[in-house]
Symmetry: C2
Subunit: 420 residues, 2 copies
């Protein structure tokens, strides 16, 4: 059996550790030269496959590939491009198979979240229908931590650590200034649908009075009166109040707080996110001086403060994907299985893609305190291991040394173009 | 000569390393038990002196004091409270001397920026007038990097490193998503009066195409047309554009861009800062998808990514202040003197306070490129050494272990209260 080539692509919002998964895929594939020929990466994700814009990772040195482990974001480019259903756009799936056939792709490694798990499954199904032999393995990745079956998702632990560290540090800052200056600090974090990231901020509070004092979750409709009461209590008790707010917080009518705000003179929606909206509310209703921060991409790109557990799991998922392929599996995803809580231990598991696609894992209600403003001991037990350990990148001249790959294109073989 | 007590206070906005200076003061004072008795800290800065709310640092263990070196923010509390001129409010200065006399304070260590240098000088002058022997030493601290004479200011190097690391990481993120998603990313950083912090972001760009592509300085009136042209050029050339904007950027009329924005339906000024204003402008005029982040306190509290050079200098300034006092100096400030550029070397110098007070060191025009959008090689030479080295705090359970002191009060000796 002559070796066949592998295709790898990054999908959706990138993370601090998705390249660690790429590293795991490529390094492991290189160990199987007898069965895996070239590893081609899609330039800008699946778009690279559709347009036959492939990157030859074989042109990268072992050192460059190793450096992916400590480099944030998507080294081959990612994309927000969701393939439609097979019924709606069968042509796209057939095009993928056409490109794969032209380049003798026998292994399809797709590194992303729920949507890409679904795509991966469909590609696998179509290849069977068309009689084109292909093993499709999904490599889990999402800061949103919303994939089912796996205990957690690579990418989440590092955002979680960033948010917990940041609110702890900002809390120390505000505490020291609150006598004459800022009394309320609001940190807006990601999480449009679920409060996993906001919940992680709660890890910074290890004893009474620690920041954050209040967490606002998308799962809990915003109760303005209760929030203001709690804020005032904190300021009176601790001198200040530190708040972590998820971008996805909604009011009782289900509208995003960020959108529910006022419009400017031109009718544009509020430029700010939910952070400034909440801060302004505090100012208006309680009169406290406030500051707010919006971490935005900083939180998911912060490789400098990545969780060591997260980096190891991201790498392991990439490695396992190739191992699974070598074992003959298809339409599966490696998962993280928590085998011990204390000490924290985990191992690699496997999930069939049909059980992963289109299922969102929500933050359990019992991870949130009854009053809706913090995490419970149970939530803390789940979250705490995921931010363990530091895994610092190398530095030069005071700056982290992240790799930029050469990303040499593979010569096209098809005459047909494809417009996405 | 029996030992006299020392007073130490933190003033103004805190930094990632002001506690390292406190550590330097206290550890060095403890080595001079024959001449320095207790070290009392002002609770919430100079307010603690005015209200006789003193903290006995002698109640803190050597380990706790050592931990100040890696703890951000102000461990004794700081304040934004500027003493008026001697003419306007002589009573405040006399009150300070009254409290110092009651507690036999012979050494006044004041850790702050330009305003506090001025206060320190006035206290020194009044103590001479009143015949109360006191040595007043200012310990430099400010993220704004605007103190004169000293080559740089403790606190600045760590913000500089945070901003450079953050824009590099966010740049990698945006670069990988720009094919189908965000094309322009805007990071708002501190610096109301001077562009030192924004300039530091420029260090992340080490070769053509690196983020940040554009820096907006308070020193350069915002030229909308030129900015939009440059932004579009970047997106066309590199696929994306990463912008660092100082909160202090003004338009041609001298109005802060953050304030020049629109008002909402209730007439409130824009909630957002200048970051969202600039991002929205890009969207309106060029149609690019944008994201923005406002780092706010996160940048100055980020001890987890502090510059090692900055930490060492902050500690050295605290130590030198005590050394100067032991040598009999008064009304002076230790400074950082750059003795070699390559390799970077520095030593401790000394400046008379009358040359420090009320002088602001601005970002030289020749540190900014002629087009006003980036830093020059000269600016880079100045800035680069200040972010060198990492000085990670200890971690436990995935979180940095910052110390919270016991902050035991010193028994009051005065019958008189003082209302600030």
């Amino acid at each position: 059996m002559s070796p066949r080539n592998a295709f790898y692509a990054q999908s959706g919002g990138v993370t601090a550790v998705i390249n660690a998964s790429a590293c795991g895929v490529i390094e492991t594939a290189r160990l199987h030269a007898d069965r895996i020929g070239a590893v081609y990466a899609g330039r800008n994700g699946i778009i690279g496959a559709l347009t036959e814009d492939l990157i030859d990772t074989g042109q990268e040195s072992a050192d460059a590939i190793a450096a992916l482990r400590h480099t944030p974001a998507g080294a081959f480019g990612s994309c927000r491009y969701k393939l439609k259903s097979l019924d709606q756009n069968r042509a796209e799936y057939e095009r993928l198979i056409e490109v794969f056939r032209a380049h003798d792709i026998g292994y399809f490694f797709y590194n992303g979240g729920g949507d890409s798990a679904d795509t991966c499954l469909k590609v696998s199904q179509l290849s069977a229908t068309l009689g084109y032999p292909l093993q499709a393995i999904h490599v889990p990745k999402t800061v949103d931590n919303d994939l089912p079956i796996t205990d957690c998702c690579p990418g989440f632990g590092s955002v979680a650590k960033y948010v917990a560290v940041s609110i702890r540090e900002a809390g120390f800052d505000v505490a020291s200034m609150s006598r004459t200056s800022t009394k309320v600090f609001v940190l807006e974090v990601m999480g449009r649908h679920a409060g996993w990231i906001a919940a992680a901020g709660g890890l910074a509070a290890q004893k009474a009075g620690d920041a954050p004092h209040i967490i606002l979750f998308p799962e809990i409709p915003f109760d303005e009166a209760a929030f203001l009461t709690r804020t005032e209590e904190c300021v009176k008790k601790y001198g200040y109040c530190a708040v972590v707010v998820s971008e996805g917080v909604r009011n009782a009518e289900g509208k995003f707080l960020a959108d529910a705000g006022t419009r400017d003179a031109f009718g544009h929606a509020q430029l700010g996110g939910v952070g400034p909206v909440v801060a302004q509310l505090v100012k208006e209703k309680l009169g406290y001086k406030y500051h707010w921060a919006v971490a935005d991409y900083l939180q998911r790109a912060a490789r400098h403060i990545a969780s060591k557990v997260d980096v190891e799991q991201a790498y392991a998922m990439g490695k396992a994907a190739v191992d699974f392929a070598m074992q003959g599996h298809n339409a599966v995803m490696p998962t993280i299985v928590r085998t011990s809580q204390k000490p924290y231990r985990w191992k690699v598991g496997m999930a069939p893609l049909e059980k992963v696609a289109n299922v969102e894992k929500m933050l359990p209600r019992d991870y949130i305190t009854p009053d809706g403003f913090h995490i419970t001991a149970k939530g803390r037990r789940y979250l705490a291991p995921l931010i363990q350990g530091e895994d610092y990148p190398p530095y030069k001249d005071g700056l982290p040394q992240y790799v930029t790959l050469r990303n040499k294109p593979v010569r096209k073989k098809l005459k047909t173009a494809f417009v996405v």
